[in-house]
């Protein structure tokens, strides 16, 4: 066990899986010679050569399609998008080819591939490059969508994604790459489809995923000083969502707030609220509230961007509200 960054955890997962299975290869913009736009693929070209670590032109639709074709003939491609904002150009391959291939071929073509890259806002990247796409992607039957929040989960879940015979979307975060945490040195798997209680508490459930898990833990720290113990549930997988873990927590705390980076309308939180009201109706003591990005394109101006994003203060206010406490 050593303390490493989220970036290096992903790097370890890629390296170990490429060592383990020579059908696994990495393809994307700047992944080889430049060692990755965010250095996730550092050292891989040197270790595995240019047949398995492939630089592409700036053609998202093209190399995503090459990945689908490679998966059809038995390889296990990992397609890196420099950000998921750029992946919009490739969405037809993700949604119409990868997600539906097994189904439309009558089971003839499994699609053991991974699409990965940073998702959501970083800092001042403006409206077109600050978007969280999980609700778009999780909407599609045929895709699995994961959002690891910690280095431990990043390594274990990327390995699970690479070994999965279905197309898996891995949503990372620019702001996560430098975060550190304990990661086992060798092989381990964090299963897809399992949420995790990142912190136990009995007063209110706070559901988060990806980057917002770190924010949720800050919220829990702050409220603990007031004697409010928040239970932080990290979804980890958006699809298939682990309803049982969410429901068990809400049955314990009787209230919930759902936190996400994305916009409100049809967001991941809306799906969580639906599961909670169906599975925990008789256990709810308050309406479920959501914290999310304001319903505008992300502003570029620093002060406006800060205002538009979900944050600790907004989340604390929501928790106080569902607990019927005065909001400070």
């Amino acid at each position: 066990m050593s303390v490493i960054t989220y970036r290096d955890a992903l790097n370890q997962a890629l390296r170990e899986e490429m060592q383990r299975d020579d059908r696994v290869f990495l393809m994307g913009e700047e992944v080889a010679v430049y060692q990755g736009a965010y250095k996730v693929s550092k050292g891989l070209l040197q270790e595995f050569g240019e047949m398995r670590v492939v630089d592409t032109p700036i053609t998202e639709l093209g190399f995503a399609g090459v990945g689908v074709g490679a998966a059809m003939v038995g390889l296990r491609p990992v397609i890196e998008f420099m950000t998921w904002n750029f992946a919009l150009l490739a969405i037809d391959q993700v949604v119409n080819a990868a997600a539906k291939m097994l189904y439309m071929s009558g089971g003839q073509y499994p699609m053991p591939m991974v699409f990965r890259g940073p998702n959501g806002a970083a800092l001042q990247l403006a409206a077109q490059h600050s978007q969280a796409w999980e609700s778009w992607l999780a909407h599609i039957p045929g895709l699995k969508v994961i959002t690891p929040a910690t280095p431990y989960d990043a390594k274990g879940m990327l390995k699970a994604a690479i070994r999965d015979d279905n197309p898996v979307v891995v949503l990372e975060g620019e702001m996560l790459y430098n975060t550190k945490g304990e990661v086992p040195d060798g092989d381990y798997i964090v299963p897809i489809g399992k949420a995790e209680v990142k912190r136990e508490g009995e007063h209110c459930t706070l559901v988060a995923h990806g980057k917002t898990v770190l924010m949720a833990l800050q919220v829990a720290d702050a409220l603990e000083k007031e004697g409010i113990r928040v239970e932080v549930v990290d979804l980890r997988t958006i699809r298939p969502m682990d309803v049982e873990t969410i429901a068990a927590s809400v049955r314990k705390t009787n209230r919930a707030v759902v936190l996400e980076e994305g916009w409100e309308v049809c967001g991941v939180g809306a799906q969580v609220v639906d599961y909670v009201q169906r599975h925990c109706f008789d256990h709810l003591d308050a309406p479920i509230l959501r914290v999310h990005q304001e319903d505008v394109p992300m502003p570029y101006a620093k002060n406006l961007e800060r205002t538009a994003k979900p944050d600790v203060a907004k989340t604390i206010a929501a928790i106080r509200q569902v607990m019927y406490l005065p909001t400070a």
């Binding site: 009787n254 109706f281 008789d282 256990h283 709810l284 003591d285 308050a286 019927y324």
Partner: protein, 435 residues
């Protein structure tokens, strides 16, 4: 905009109503909520109120006439509004007024003012059971809304309240808009139980904590089917017991000596004893629901009262938990208002078991007809002094014959007999009633 005045369903079982008396004349200005007329339903005389503002332009039925529920019996409109079309609709629509001679085409209406409002009840003395079957929970009727309709509470609060037997209506909510939340129910549940007794004012709001639904076992289904085939829709059997009333009589006269405030009737004591016995025998305090048996945790006694043209069964709610003084006062009040036909629907619905007493008519014993969905009714005869052998010697004792009618789908012979055993023990040792 004209407003039609309908004959409204003013009781849960009402199909037609007799307009006793118009209280507004044609040409009178009326406001929404004004009382237009008195209407006699199958159970009581109720007020029919205006549902719109304007002038009562036309009364389409006369005092004493009977109209089916849903028919148009009047029109409220502006003074100069043309209401011909509405009147045509009223007379042509099948639910026509009996007053308009032009409506001879509508044969179904009961034109004869003499039509009895409750024709079925006079048929047999055993019908002392009650009027026609009633649903256990009253349907909404015009009038003050029950508090439950406006009650806001979180799902969790409702569940905890049900589990702990807390009446939500008695709780002040501390959440937004008065929403009752978990902490309110928990605070209420930790108060002494007396304050949690439902008040007799809003007695009929049955909550899930008040009963237990038992699924039907195969043997129970077979019993239900075969016995029903054998004897009418309700396979009834009868158990008669003769109870010694000496101690009850002594108790009653001892109480009367304490002053007028302590006078109770035999009937009050019998109601109290039956209710206490039912509390110990939930299998007899039950409703047959077709696909399940509902055993009630609360005891609501229907008390058959004869009225001029039939009978009605006002309910004493939670009779097992009430003292004799309260019970006597309530039964007196209910009987009087029943005879005056002043009962509101929620005062004569919701009973879990009924008692019919014809003792005052000198009836030795009789069998009463079950008031479905209840599973039992107790027929009470007259108290009579007669020779009885006690420990080998003949002595003269006051005796009472009671007959329990049992719905065999719910109550088996031995269960009914055990209930009567308990009743006998209570009546013959009335001190147990205070135990």
């Amino acid at each position: 905009m004209a407003t039609k005045v309908f004959m409204e369903a003013l009781s849960p079982t009402m199909e037609e109503g007799r307009l006793v008396k118009w209280l507004k004349n044609e040409g009178d200005a009326v406001k929404s909520g004004d009382i237009l007329a008195e209407v006699e339903t199958d159970k009581a005389i109720m007020e029919l109120v205006a549902r719109g503002d304007g002038i009562l332009r036309r009364r389409l039925t006369g005092d004493g006439d009977t109209s089916p529920v849903g028919s148009i019996i009047g029109v409220i409109a502006a003074a100069d509004e043309n209401i011909d079309a509405l009147i045509a609709e009223a007379s042509g629509g099948g639910g026509a007024s009996t007053a308009a001679p032009a409506t001879a085409a509508a044969p179904a209406t009961a034109a004869a003012p003499a039509t009895a409002a409750t024709p079925a009840t006079a048929a047999t003395p055993a019908a002392a059971a009650t009027p026609a079957s009633q649903p256990p929970v009253p349907v909404p009727v015009p009038g003050p809304r029950p508090p439950a309709a406006d009650l806001r509470s979180s799902p969790l609060a409702r569940r905890i309240a049900a589990e702990r037997g807390v009446e939500l209506g008695a709780i002040q909510g501390s959440g937004p808009g008065g929403r009752i939340i978990k902490r309110d129910v928990e605070a209420a549940a930790s108060q002494p139980p007396v304050s949690r007794l439902p008040s007799s004012v809003s007695p009929t709001a049955a909550s899930a904590a008040d009963y237990q639904d038992l699924p039907l076992s195969q043997i129970r289904k077979t019993i239900a089917r075969r016995l029903a085939e054998s004897i009418g829709p309700i396979p009834t059997f009868y158990l008669t017991a003769e109870l010694d009333m000496e101690r009850v009589a002594e108790m009653r006269s001892a109480m009367a000596e304490l002053g007028d405030g302590f006078k109770v009737s035999f009937n009050d004591i019998i109601i109290k004893a039956v209710a206490s016995a039912l509390a110990q025998h939930p299998e007899c305090n039950a409703h047959w629901q077709g696909d399940s048996i509902r055993q009630w945790h609360r005891v609501h006694i229907g008390m058959a009262v004869a009225i001029d043209d039939g009978l009605i069964t006002p309910v004493i709610f939670d009779a097992d938990r009430k003292g004799l003084r309260q019970l006597a006062a309530e039964s007196r009040d209910l009987a009087k208002r029943a005879r005056d036909r002043k009962l509101t629907p929620n005062e004569y619905t919701g009973s879990t078991f009924s008692i019919s007493n014809l003792g005052m008519y000198g009836i030795d014993q009789f069998t009463a007809i079950i008031n479905p969905p209840e599973a039992g009714i107790l027929a009470v005869g007259s108290i009579e002094a007669k020779p009885v052998v006690i420990e080998g010697a003949v002595s003269v004792r006051r005796r009472l014959r009671v007959t329990l009618s049992c719905d065999h789908r719910v109550i088996d012979g031995a269960a009914g007999a055990r209930f009567l055993q308990t009743l006998r023990r209570l009546i013959e040792n009335p001190l147990l009633l205070v135990y």
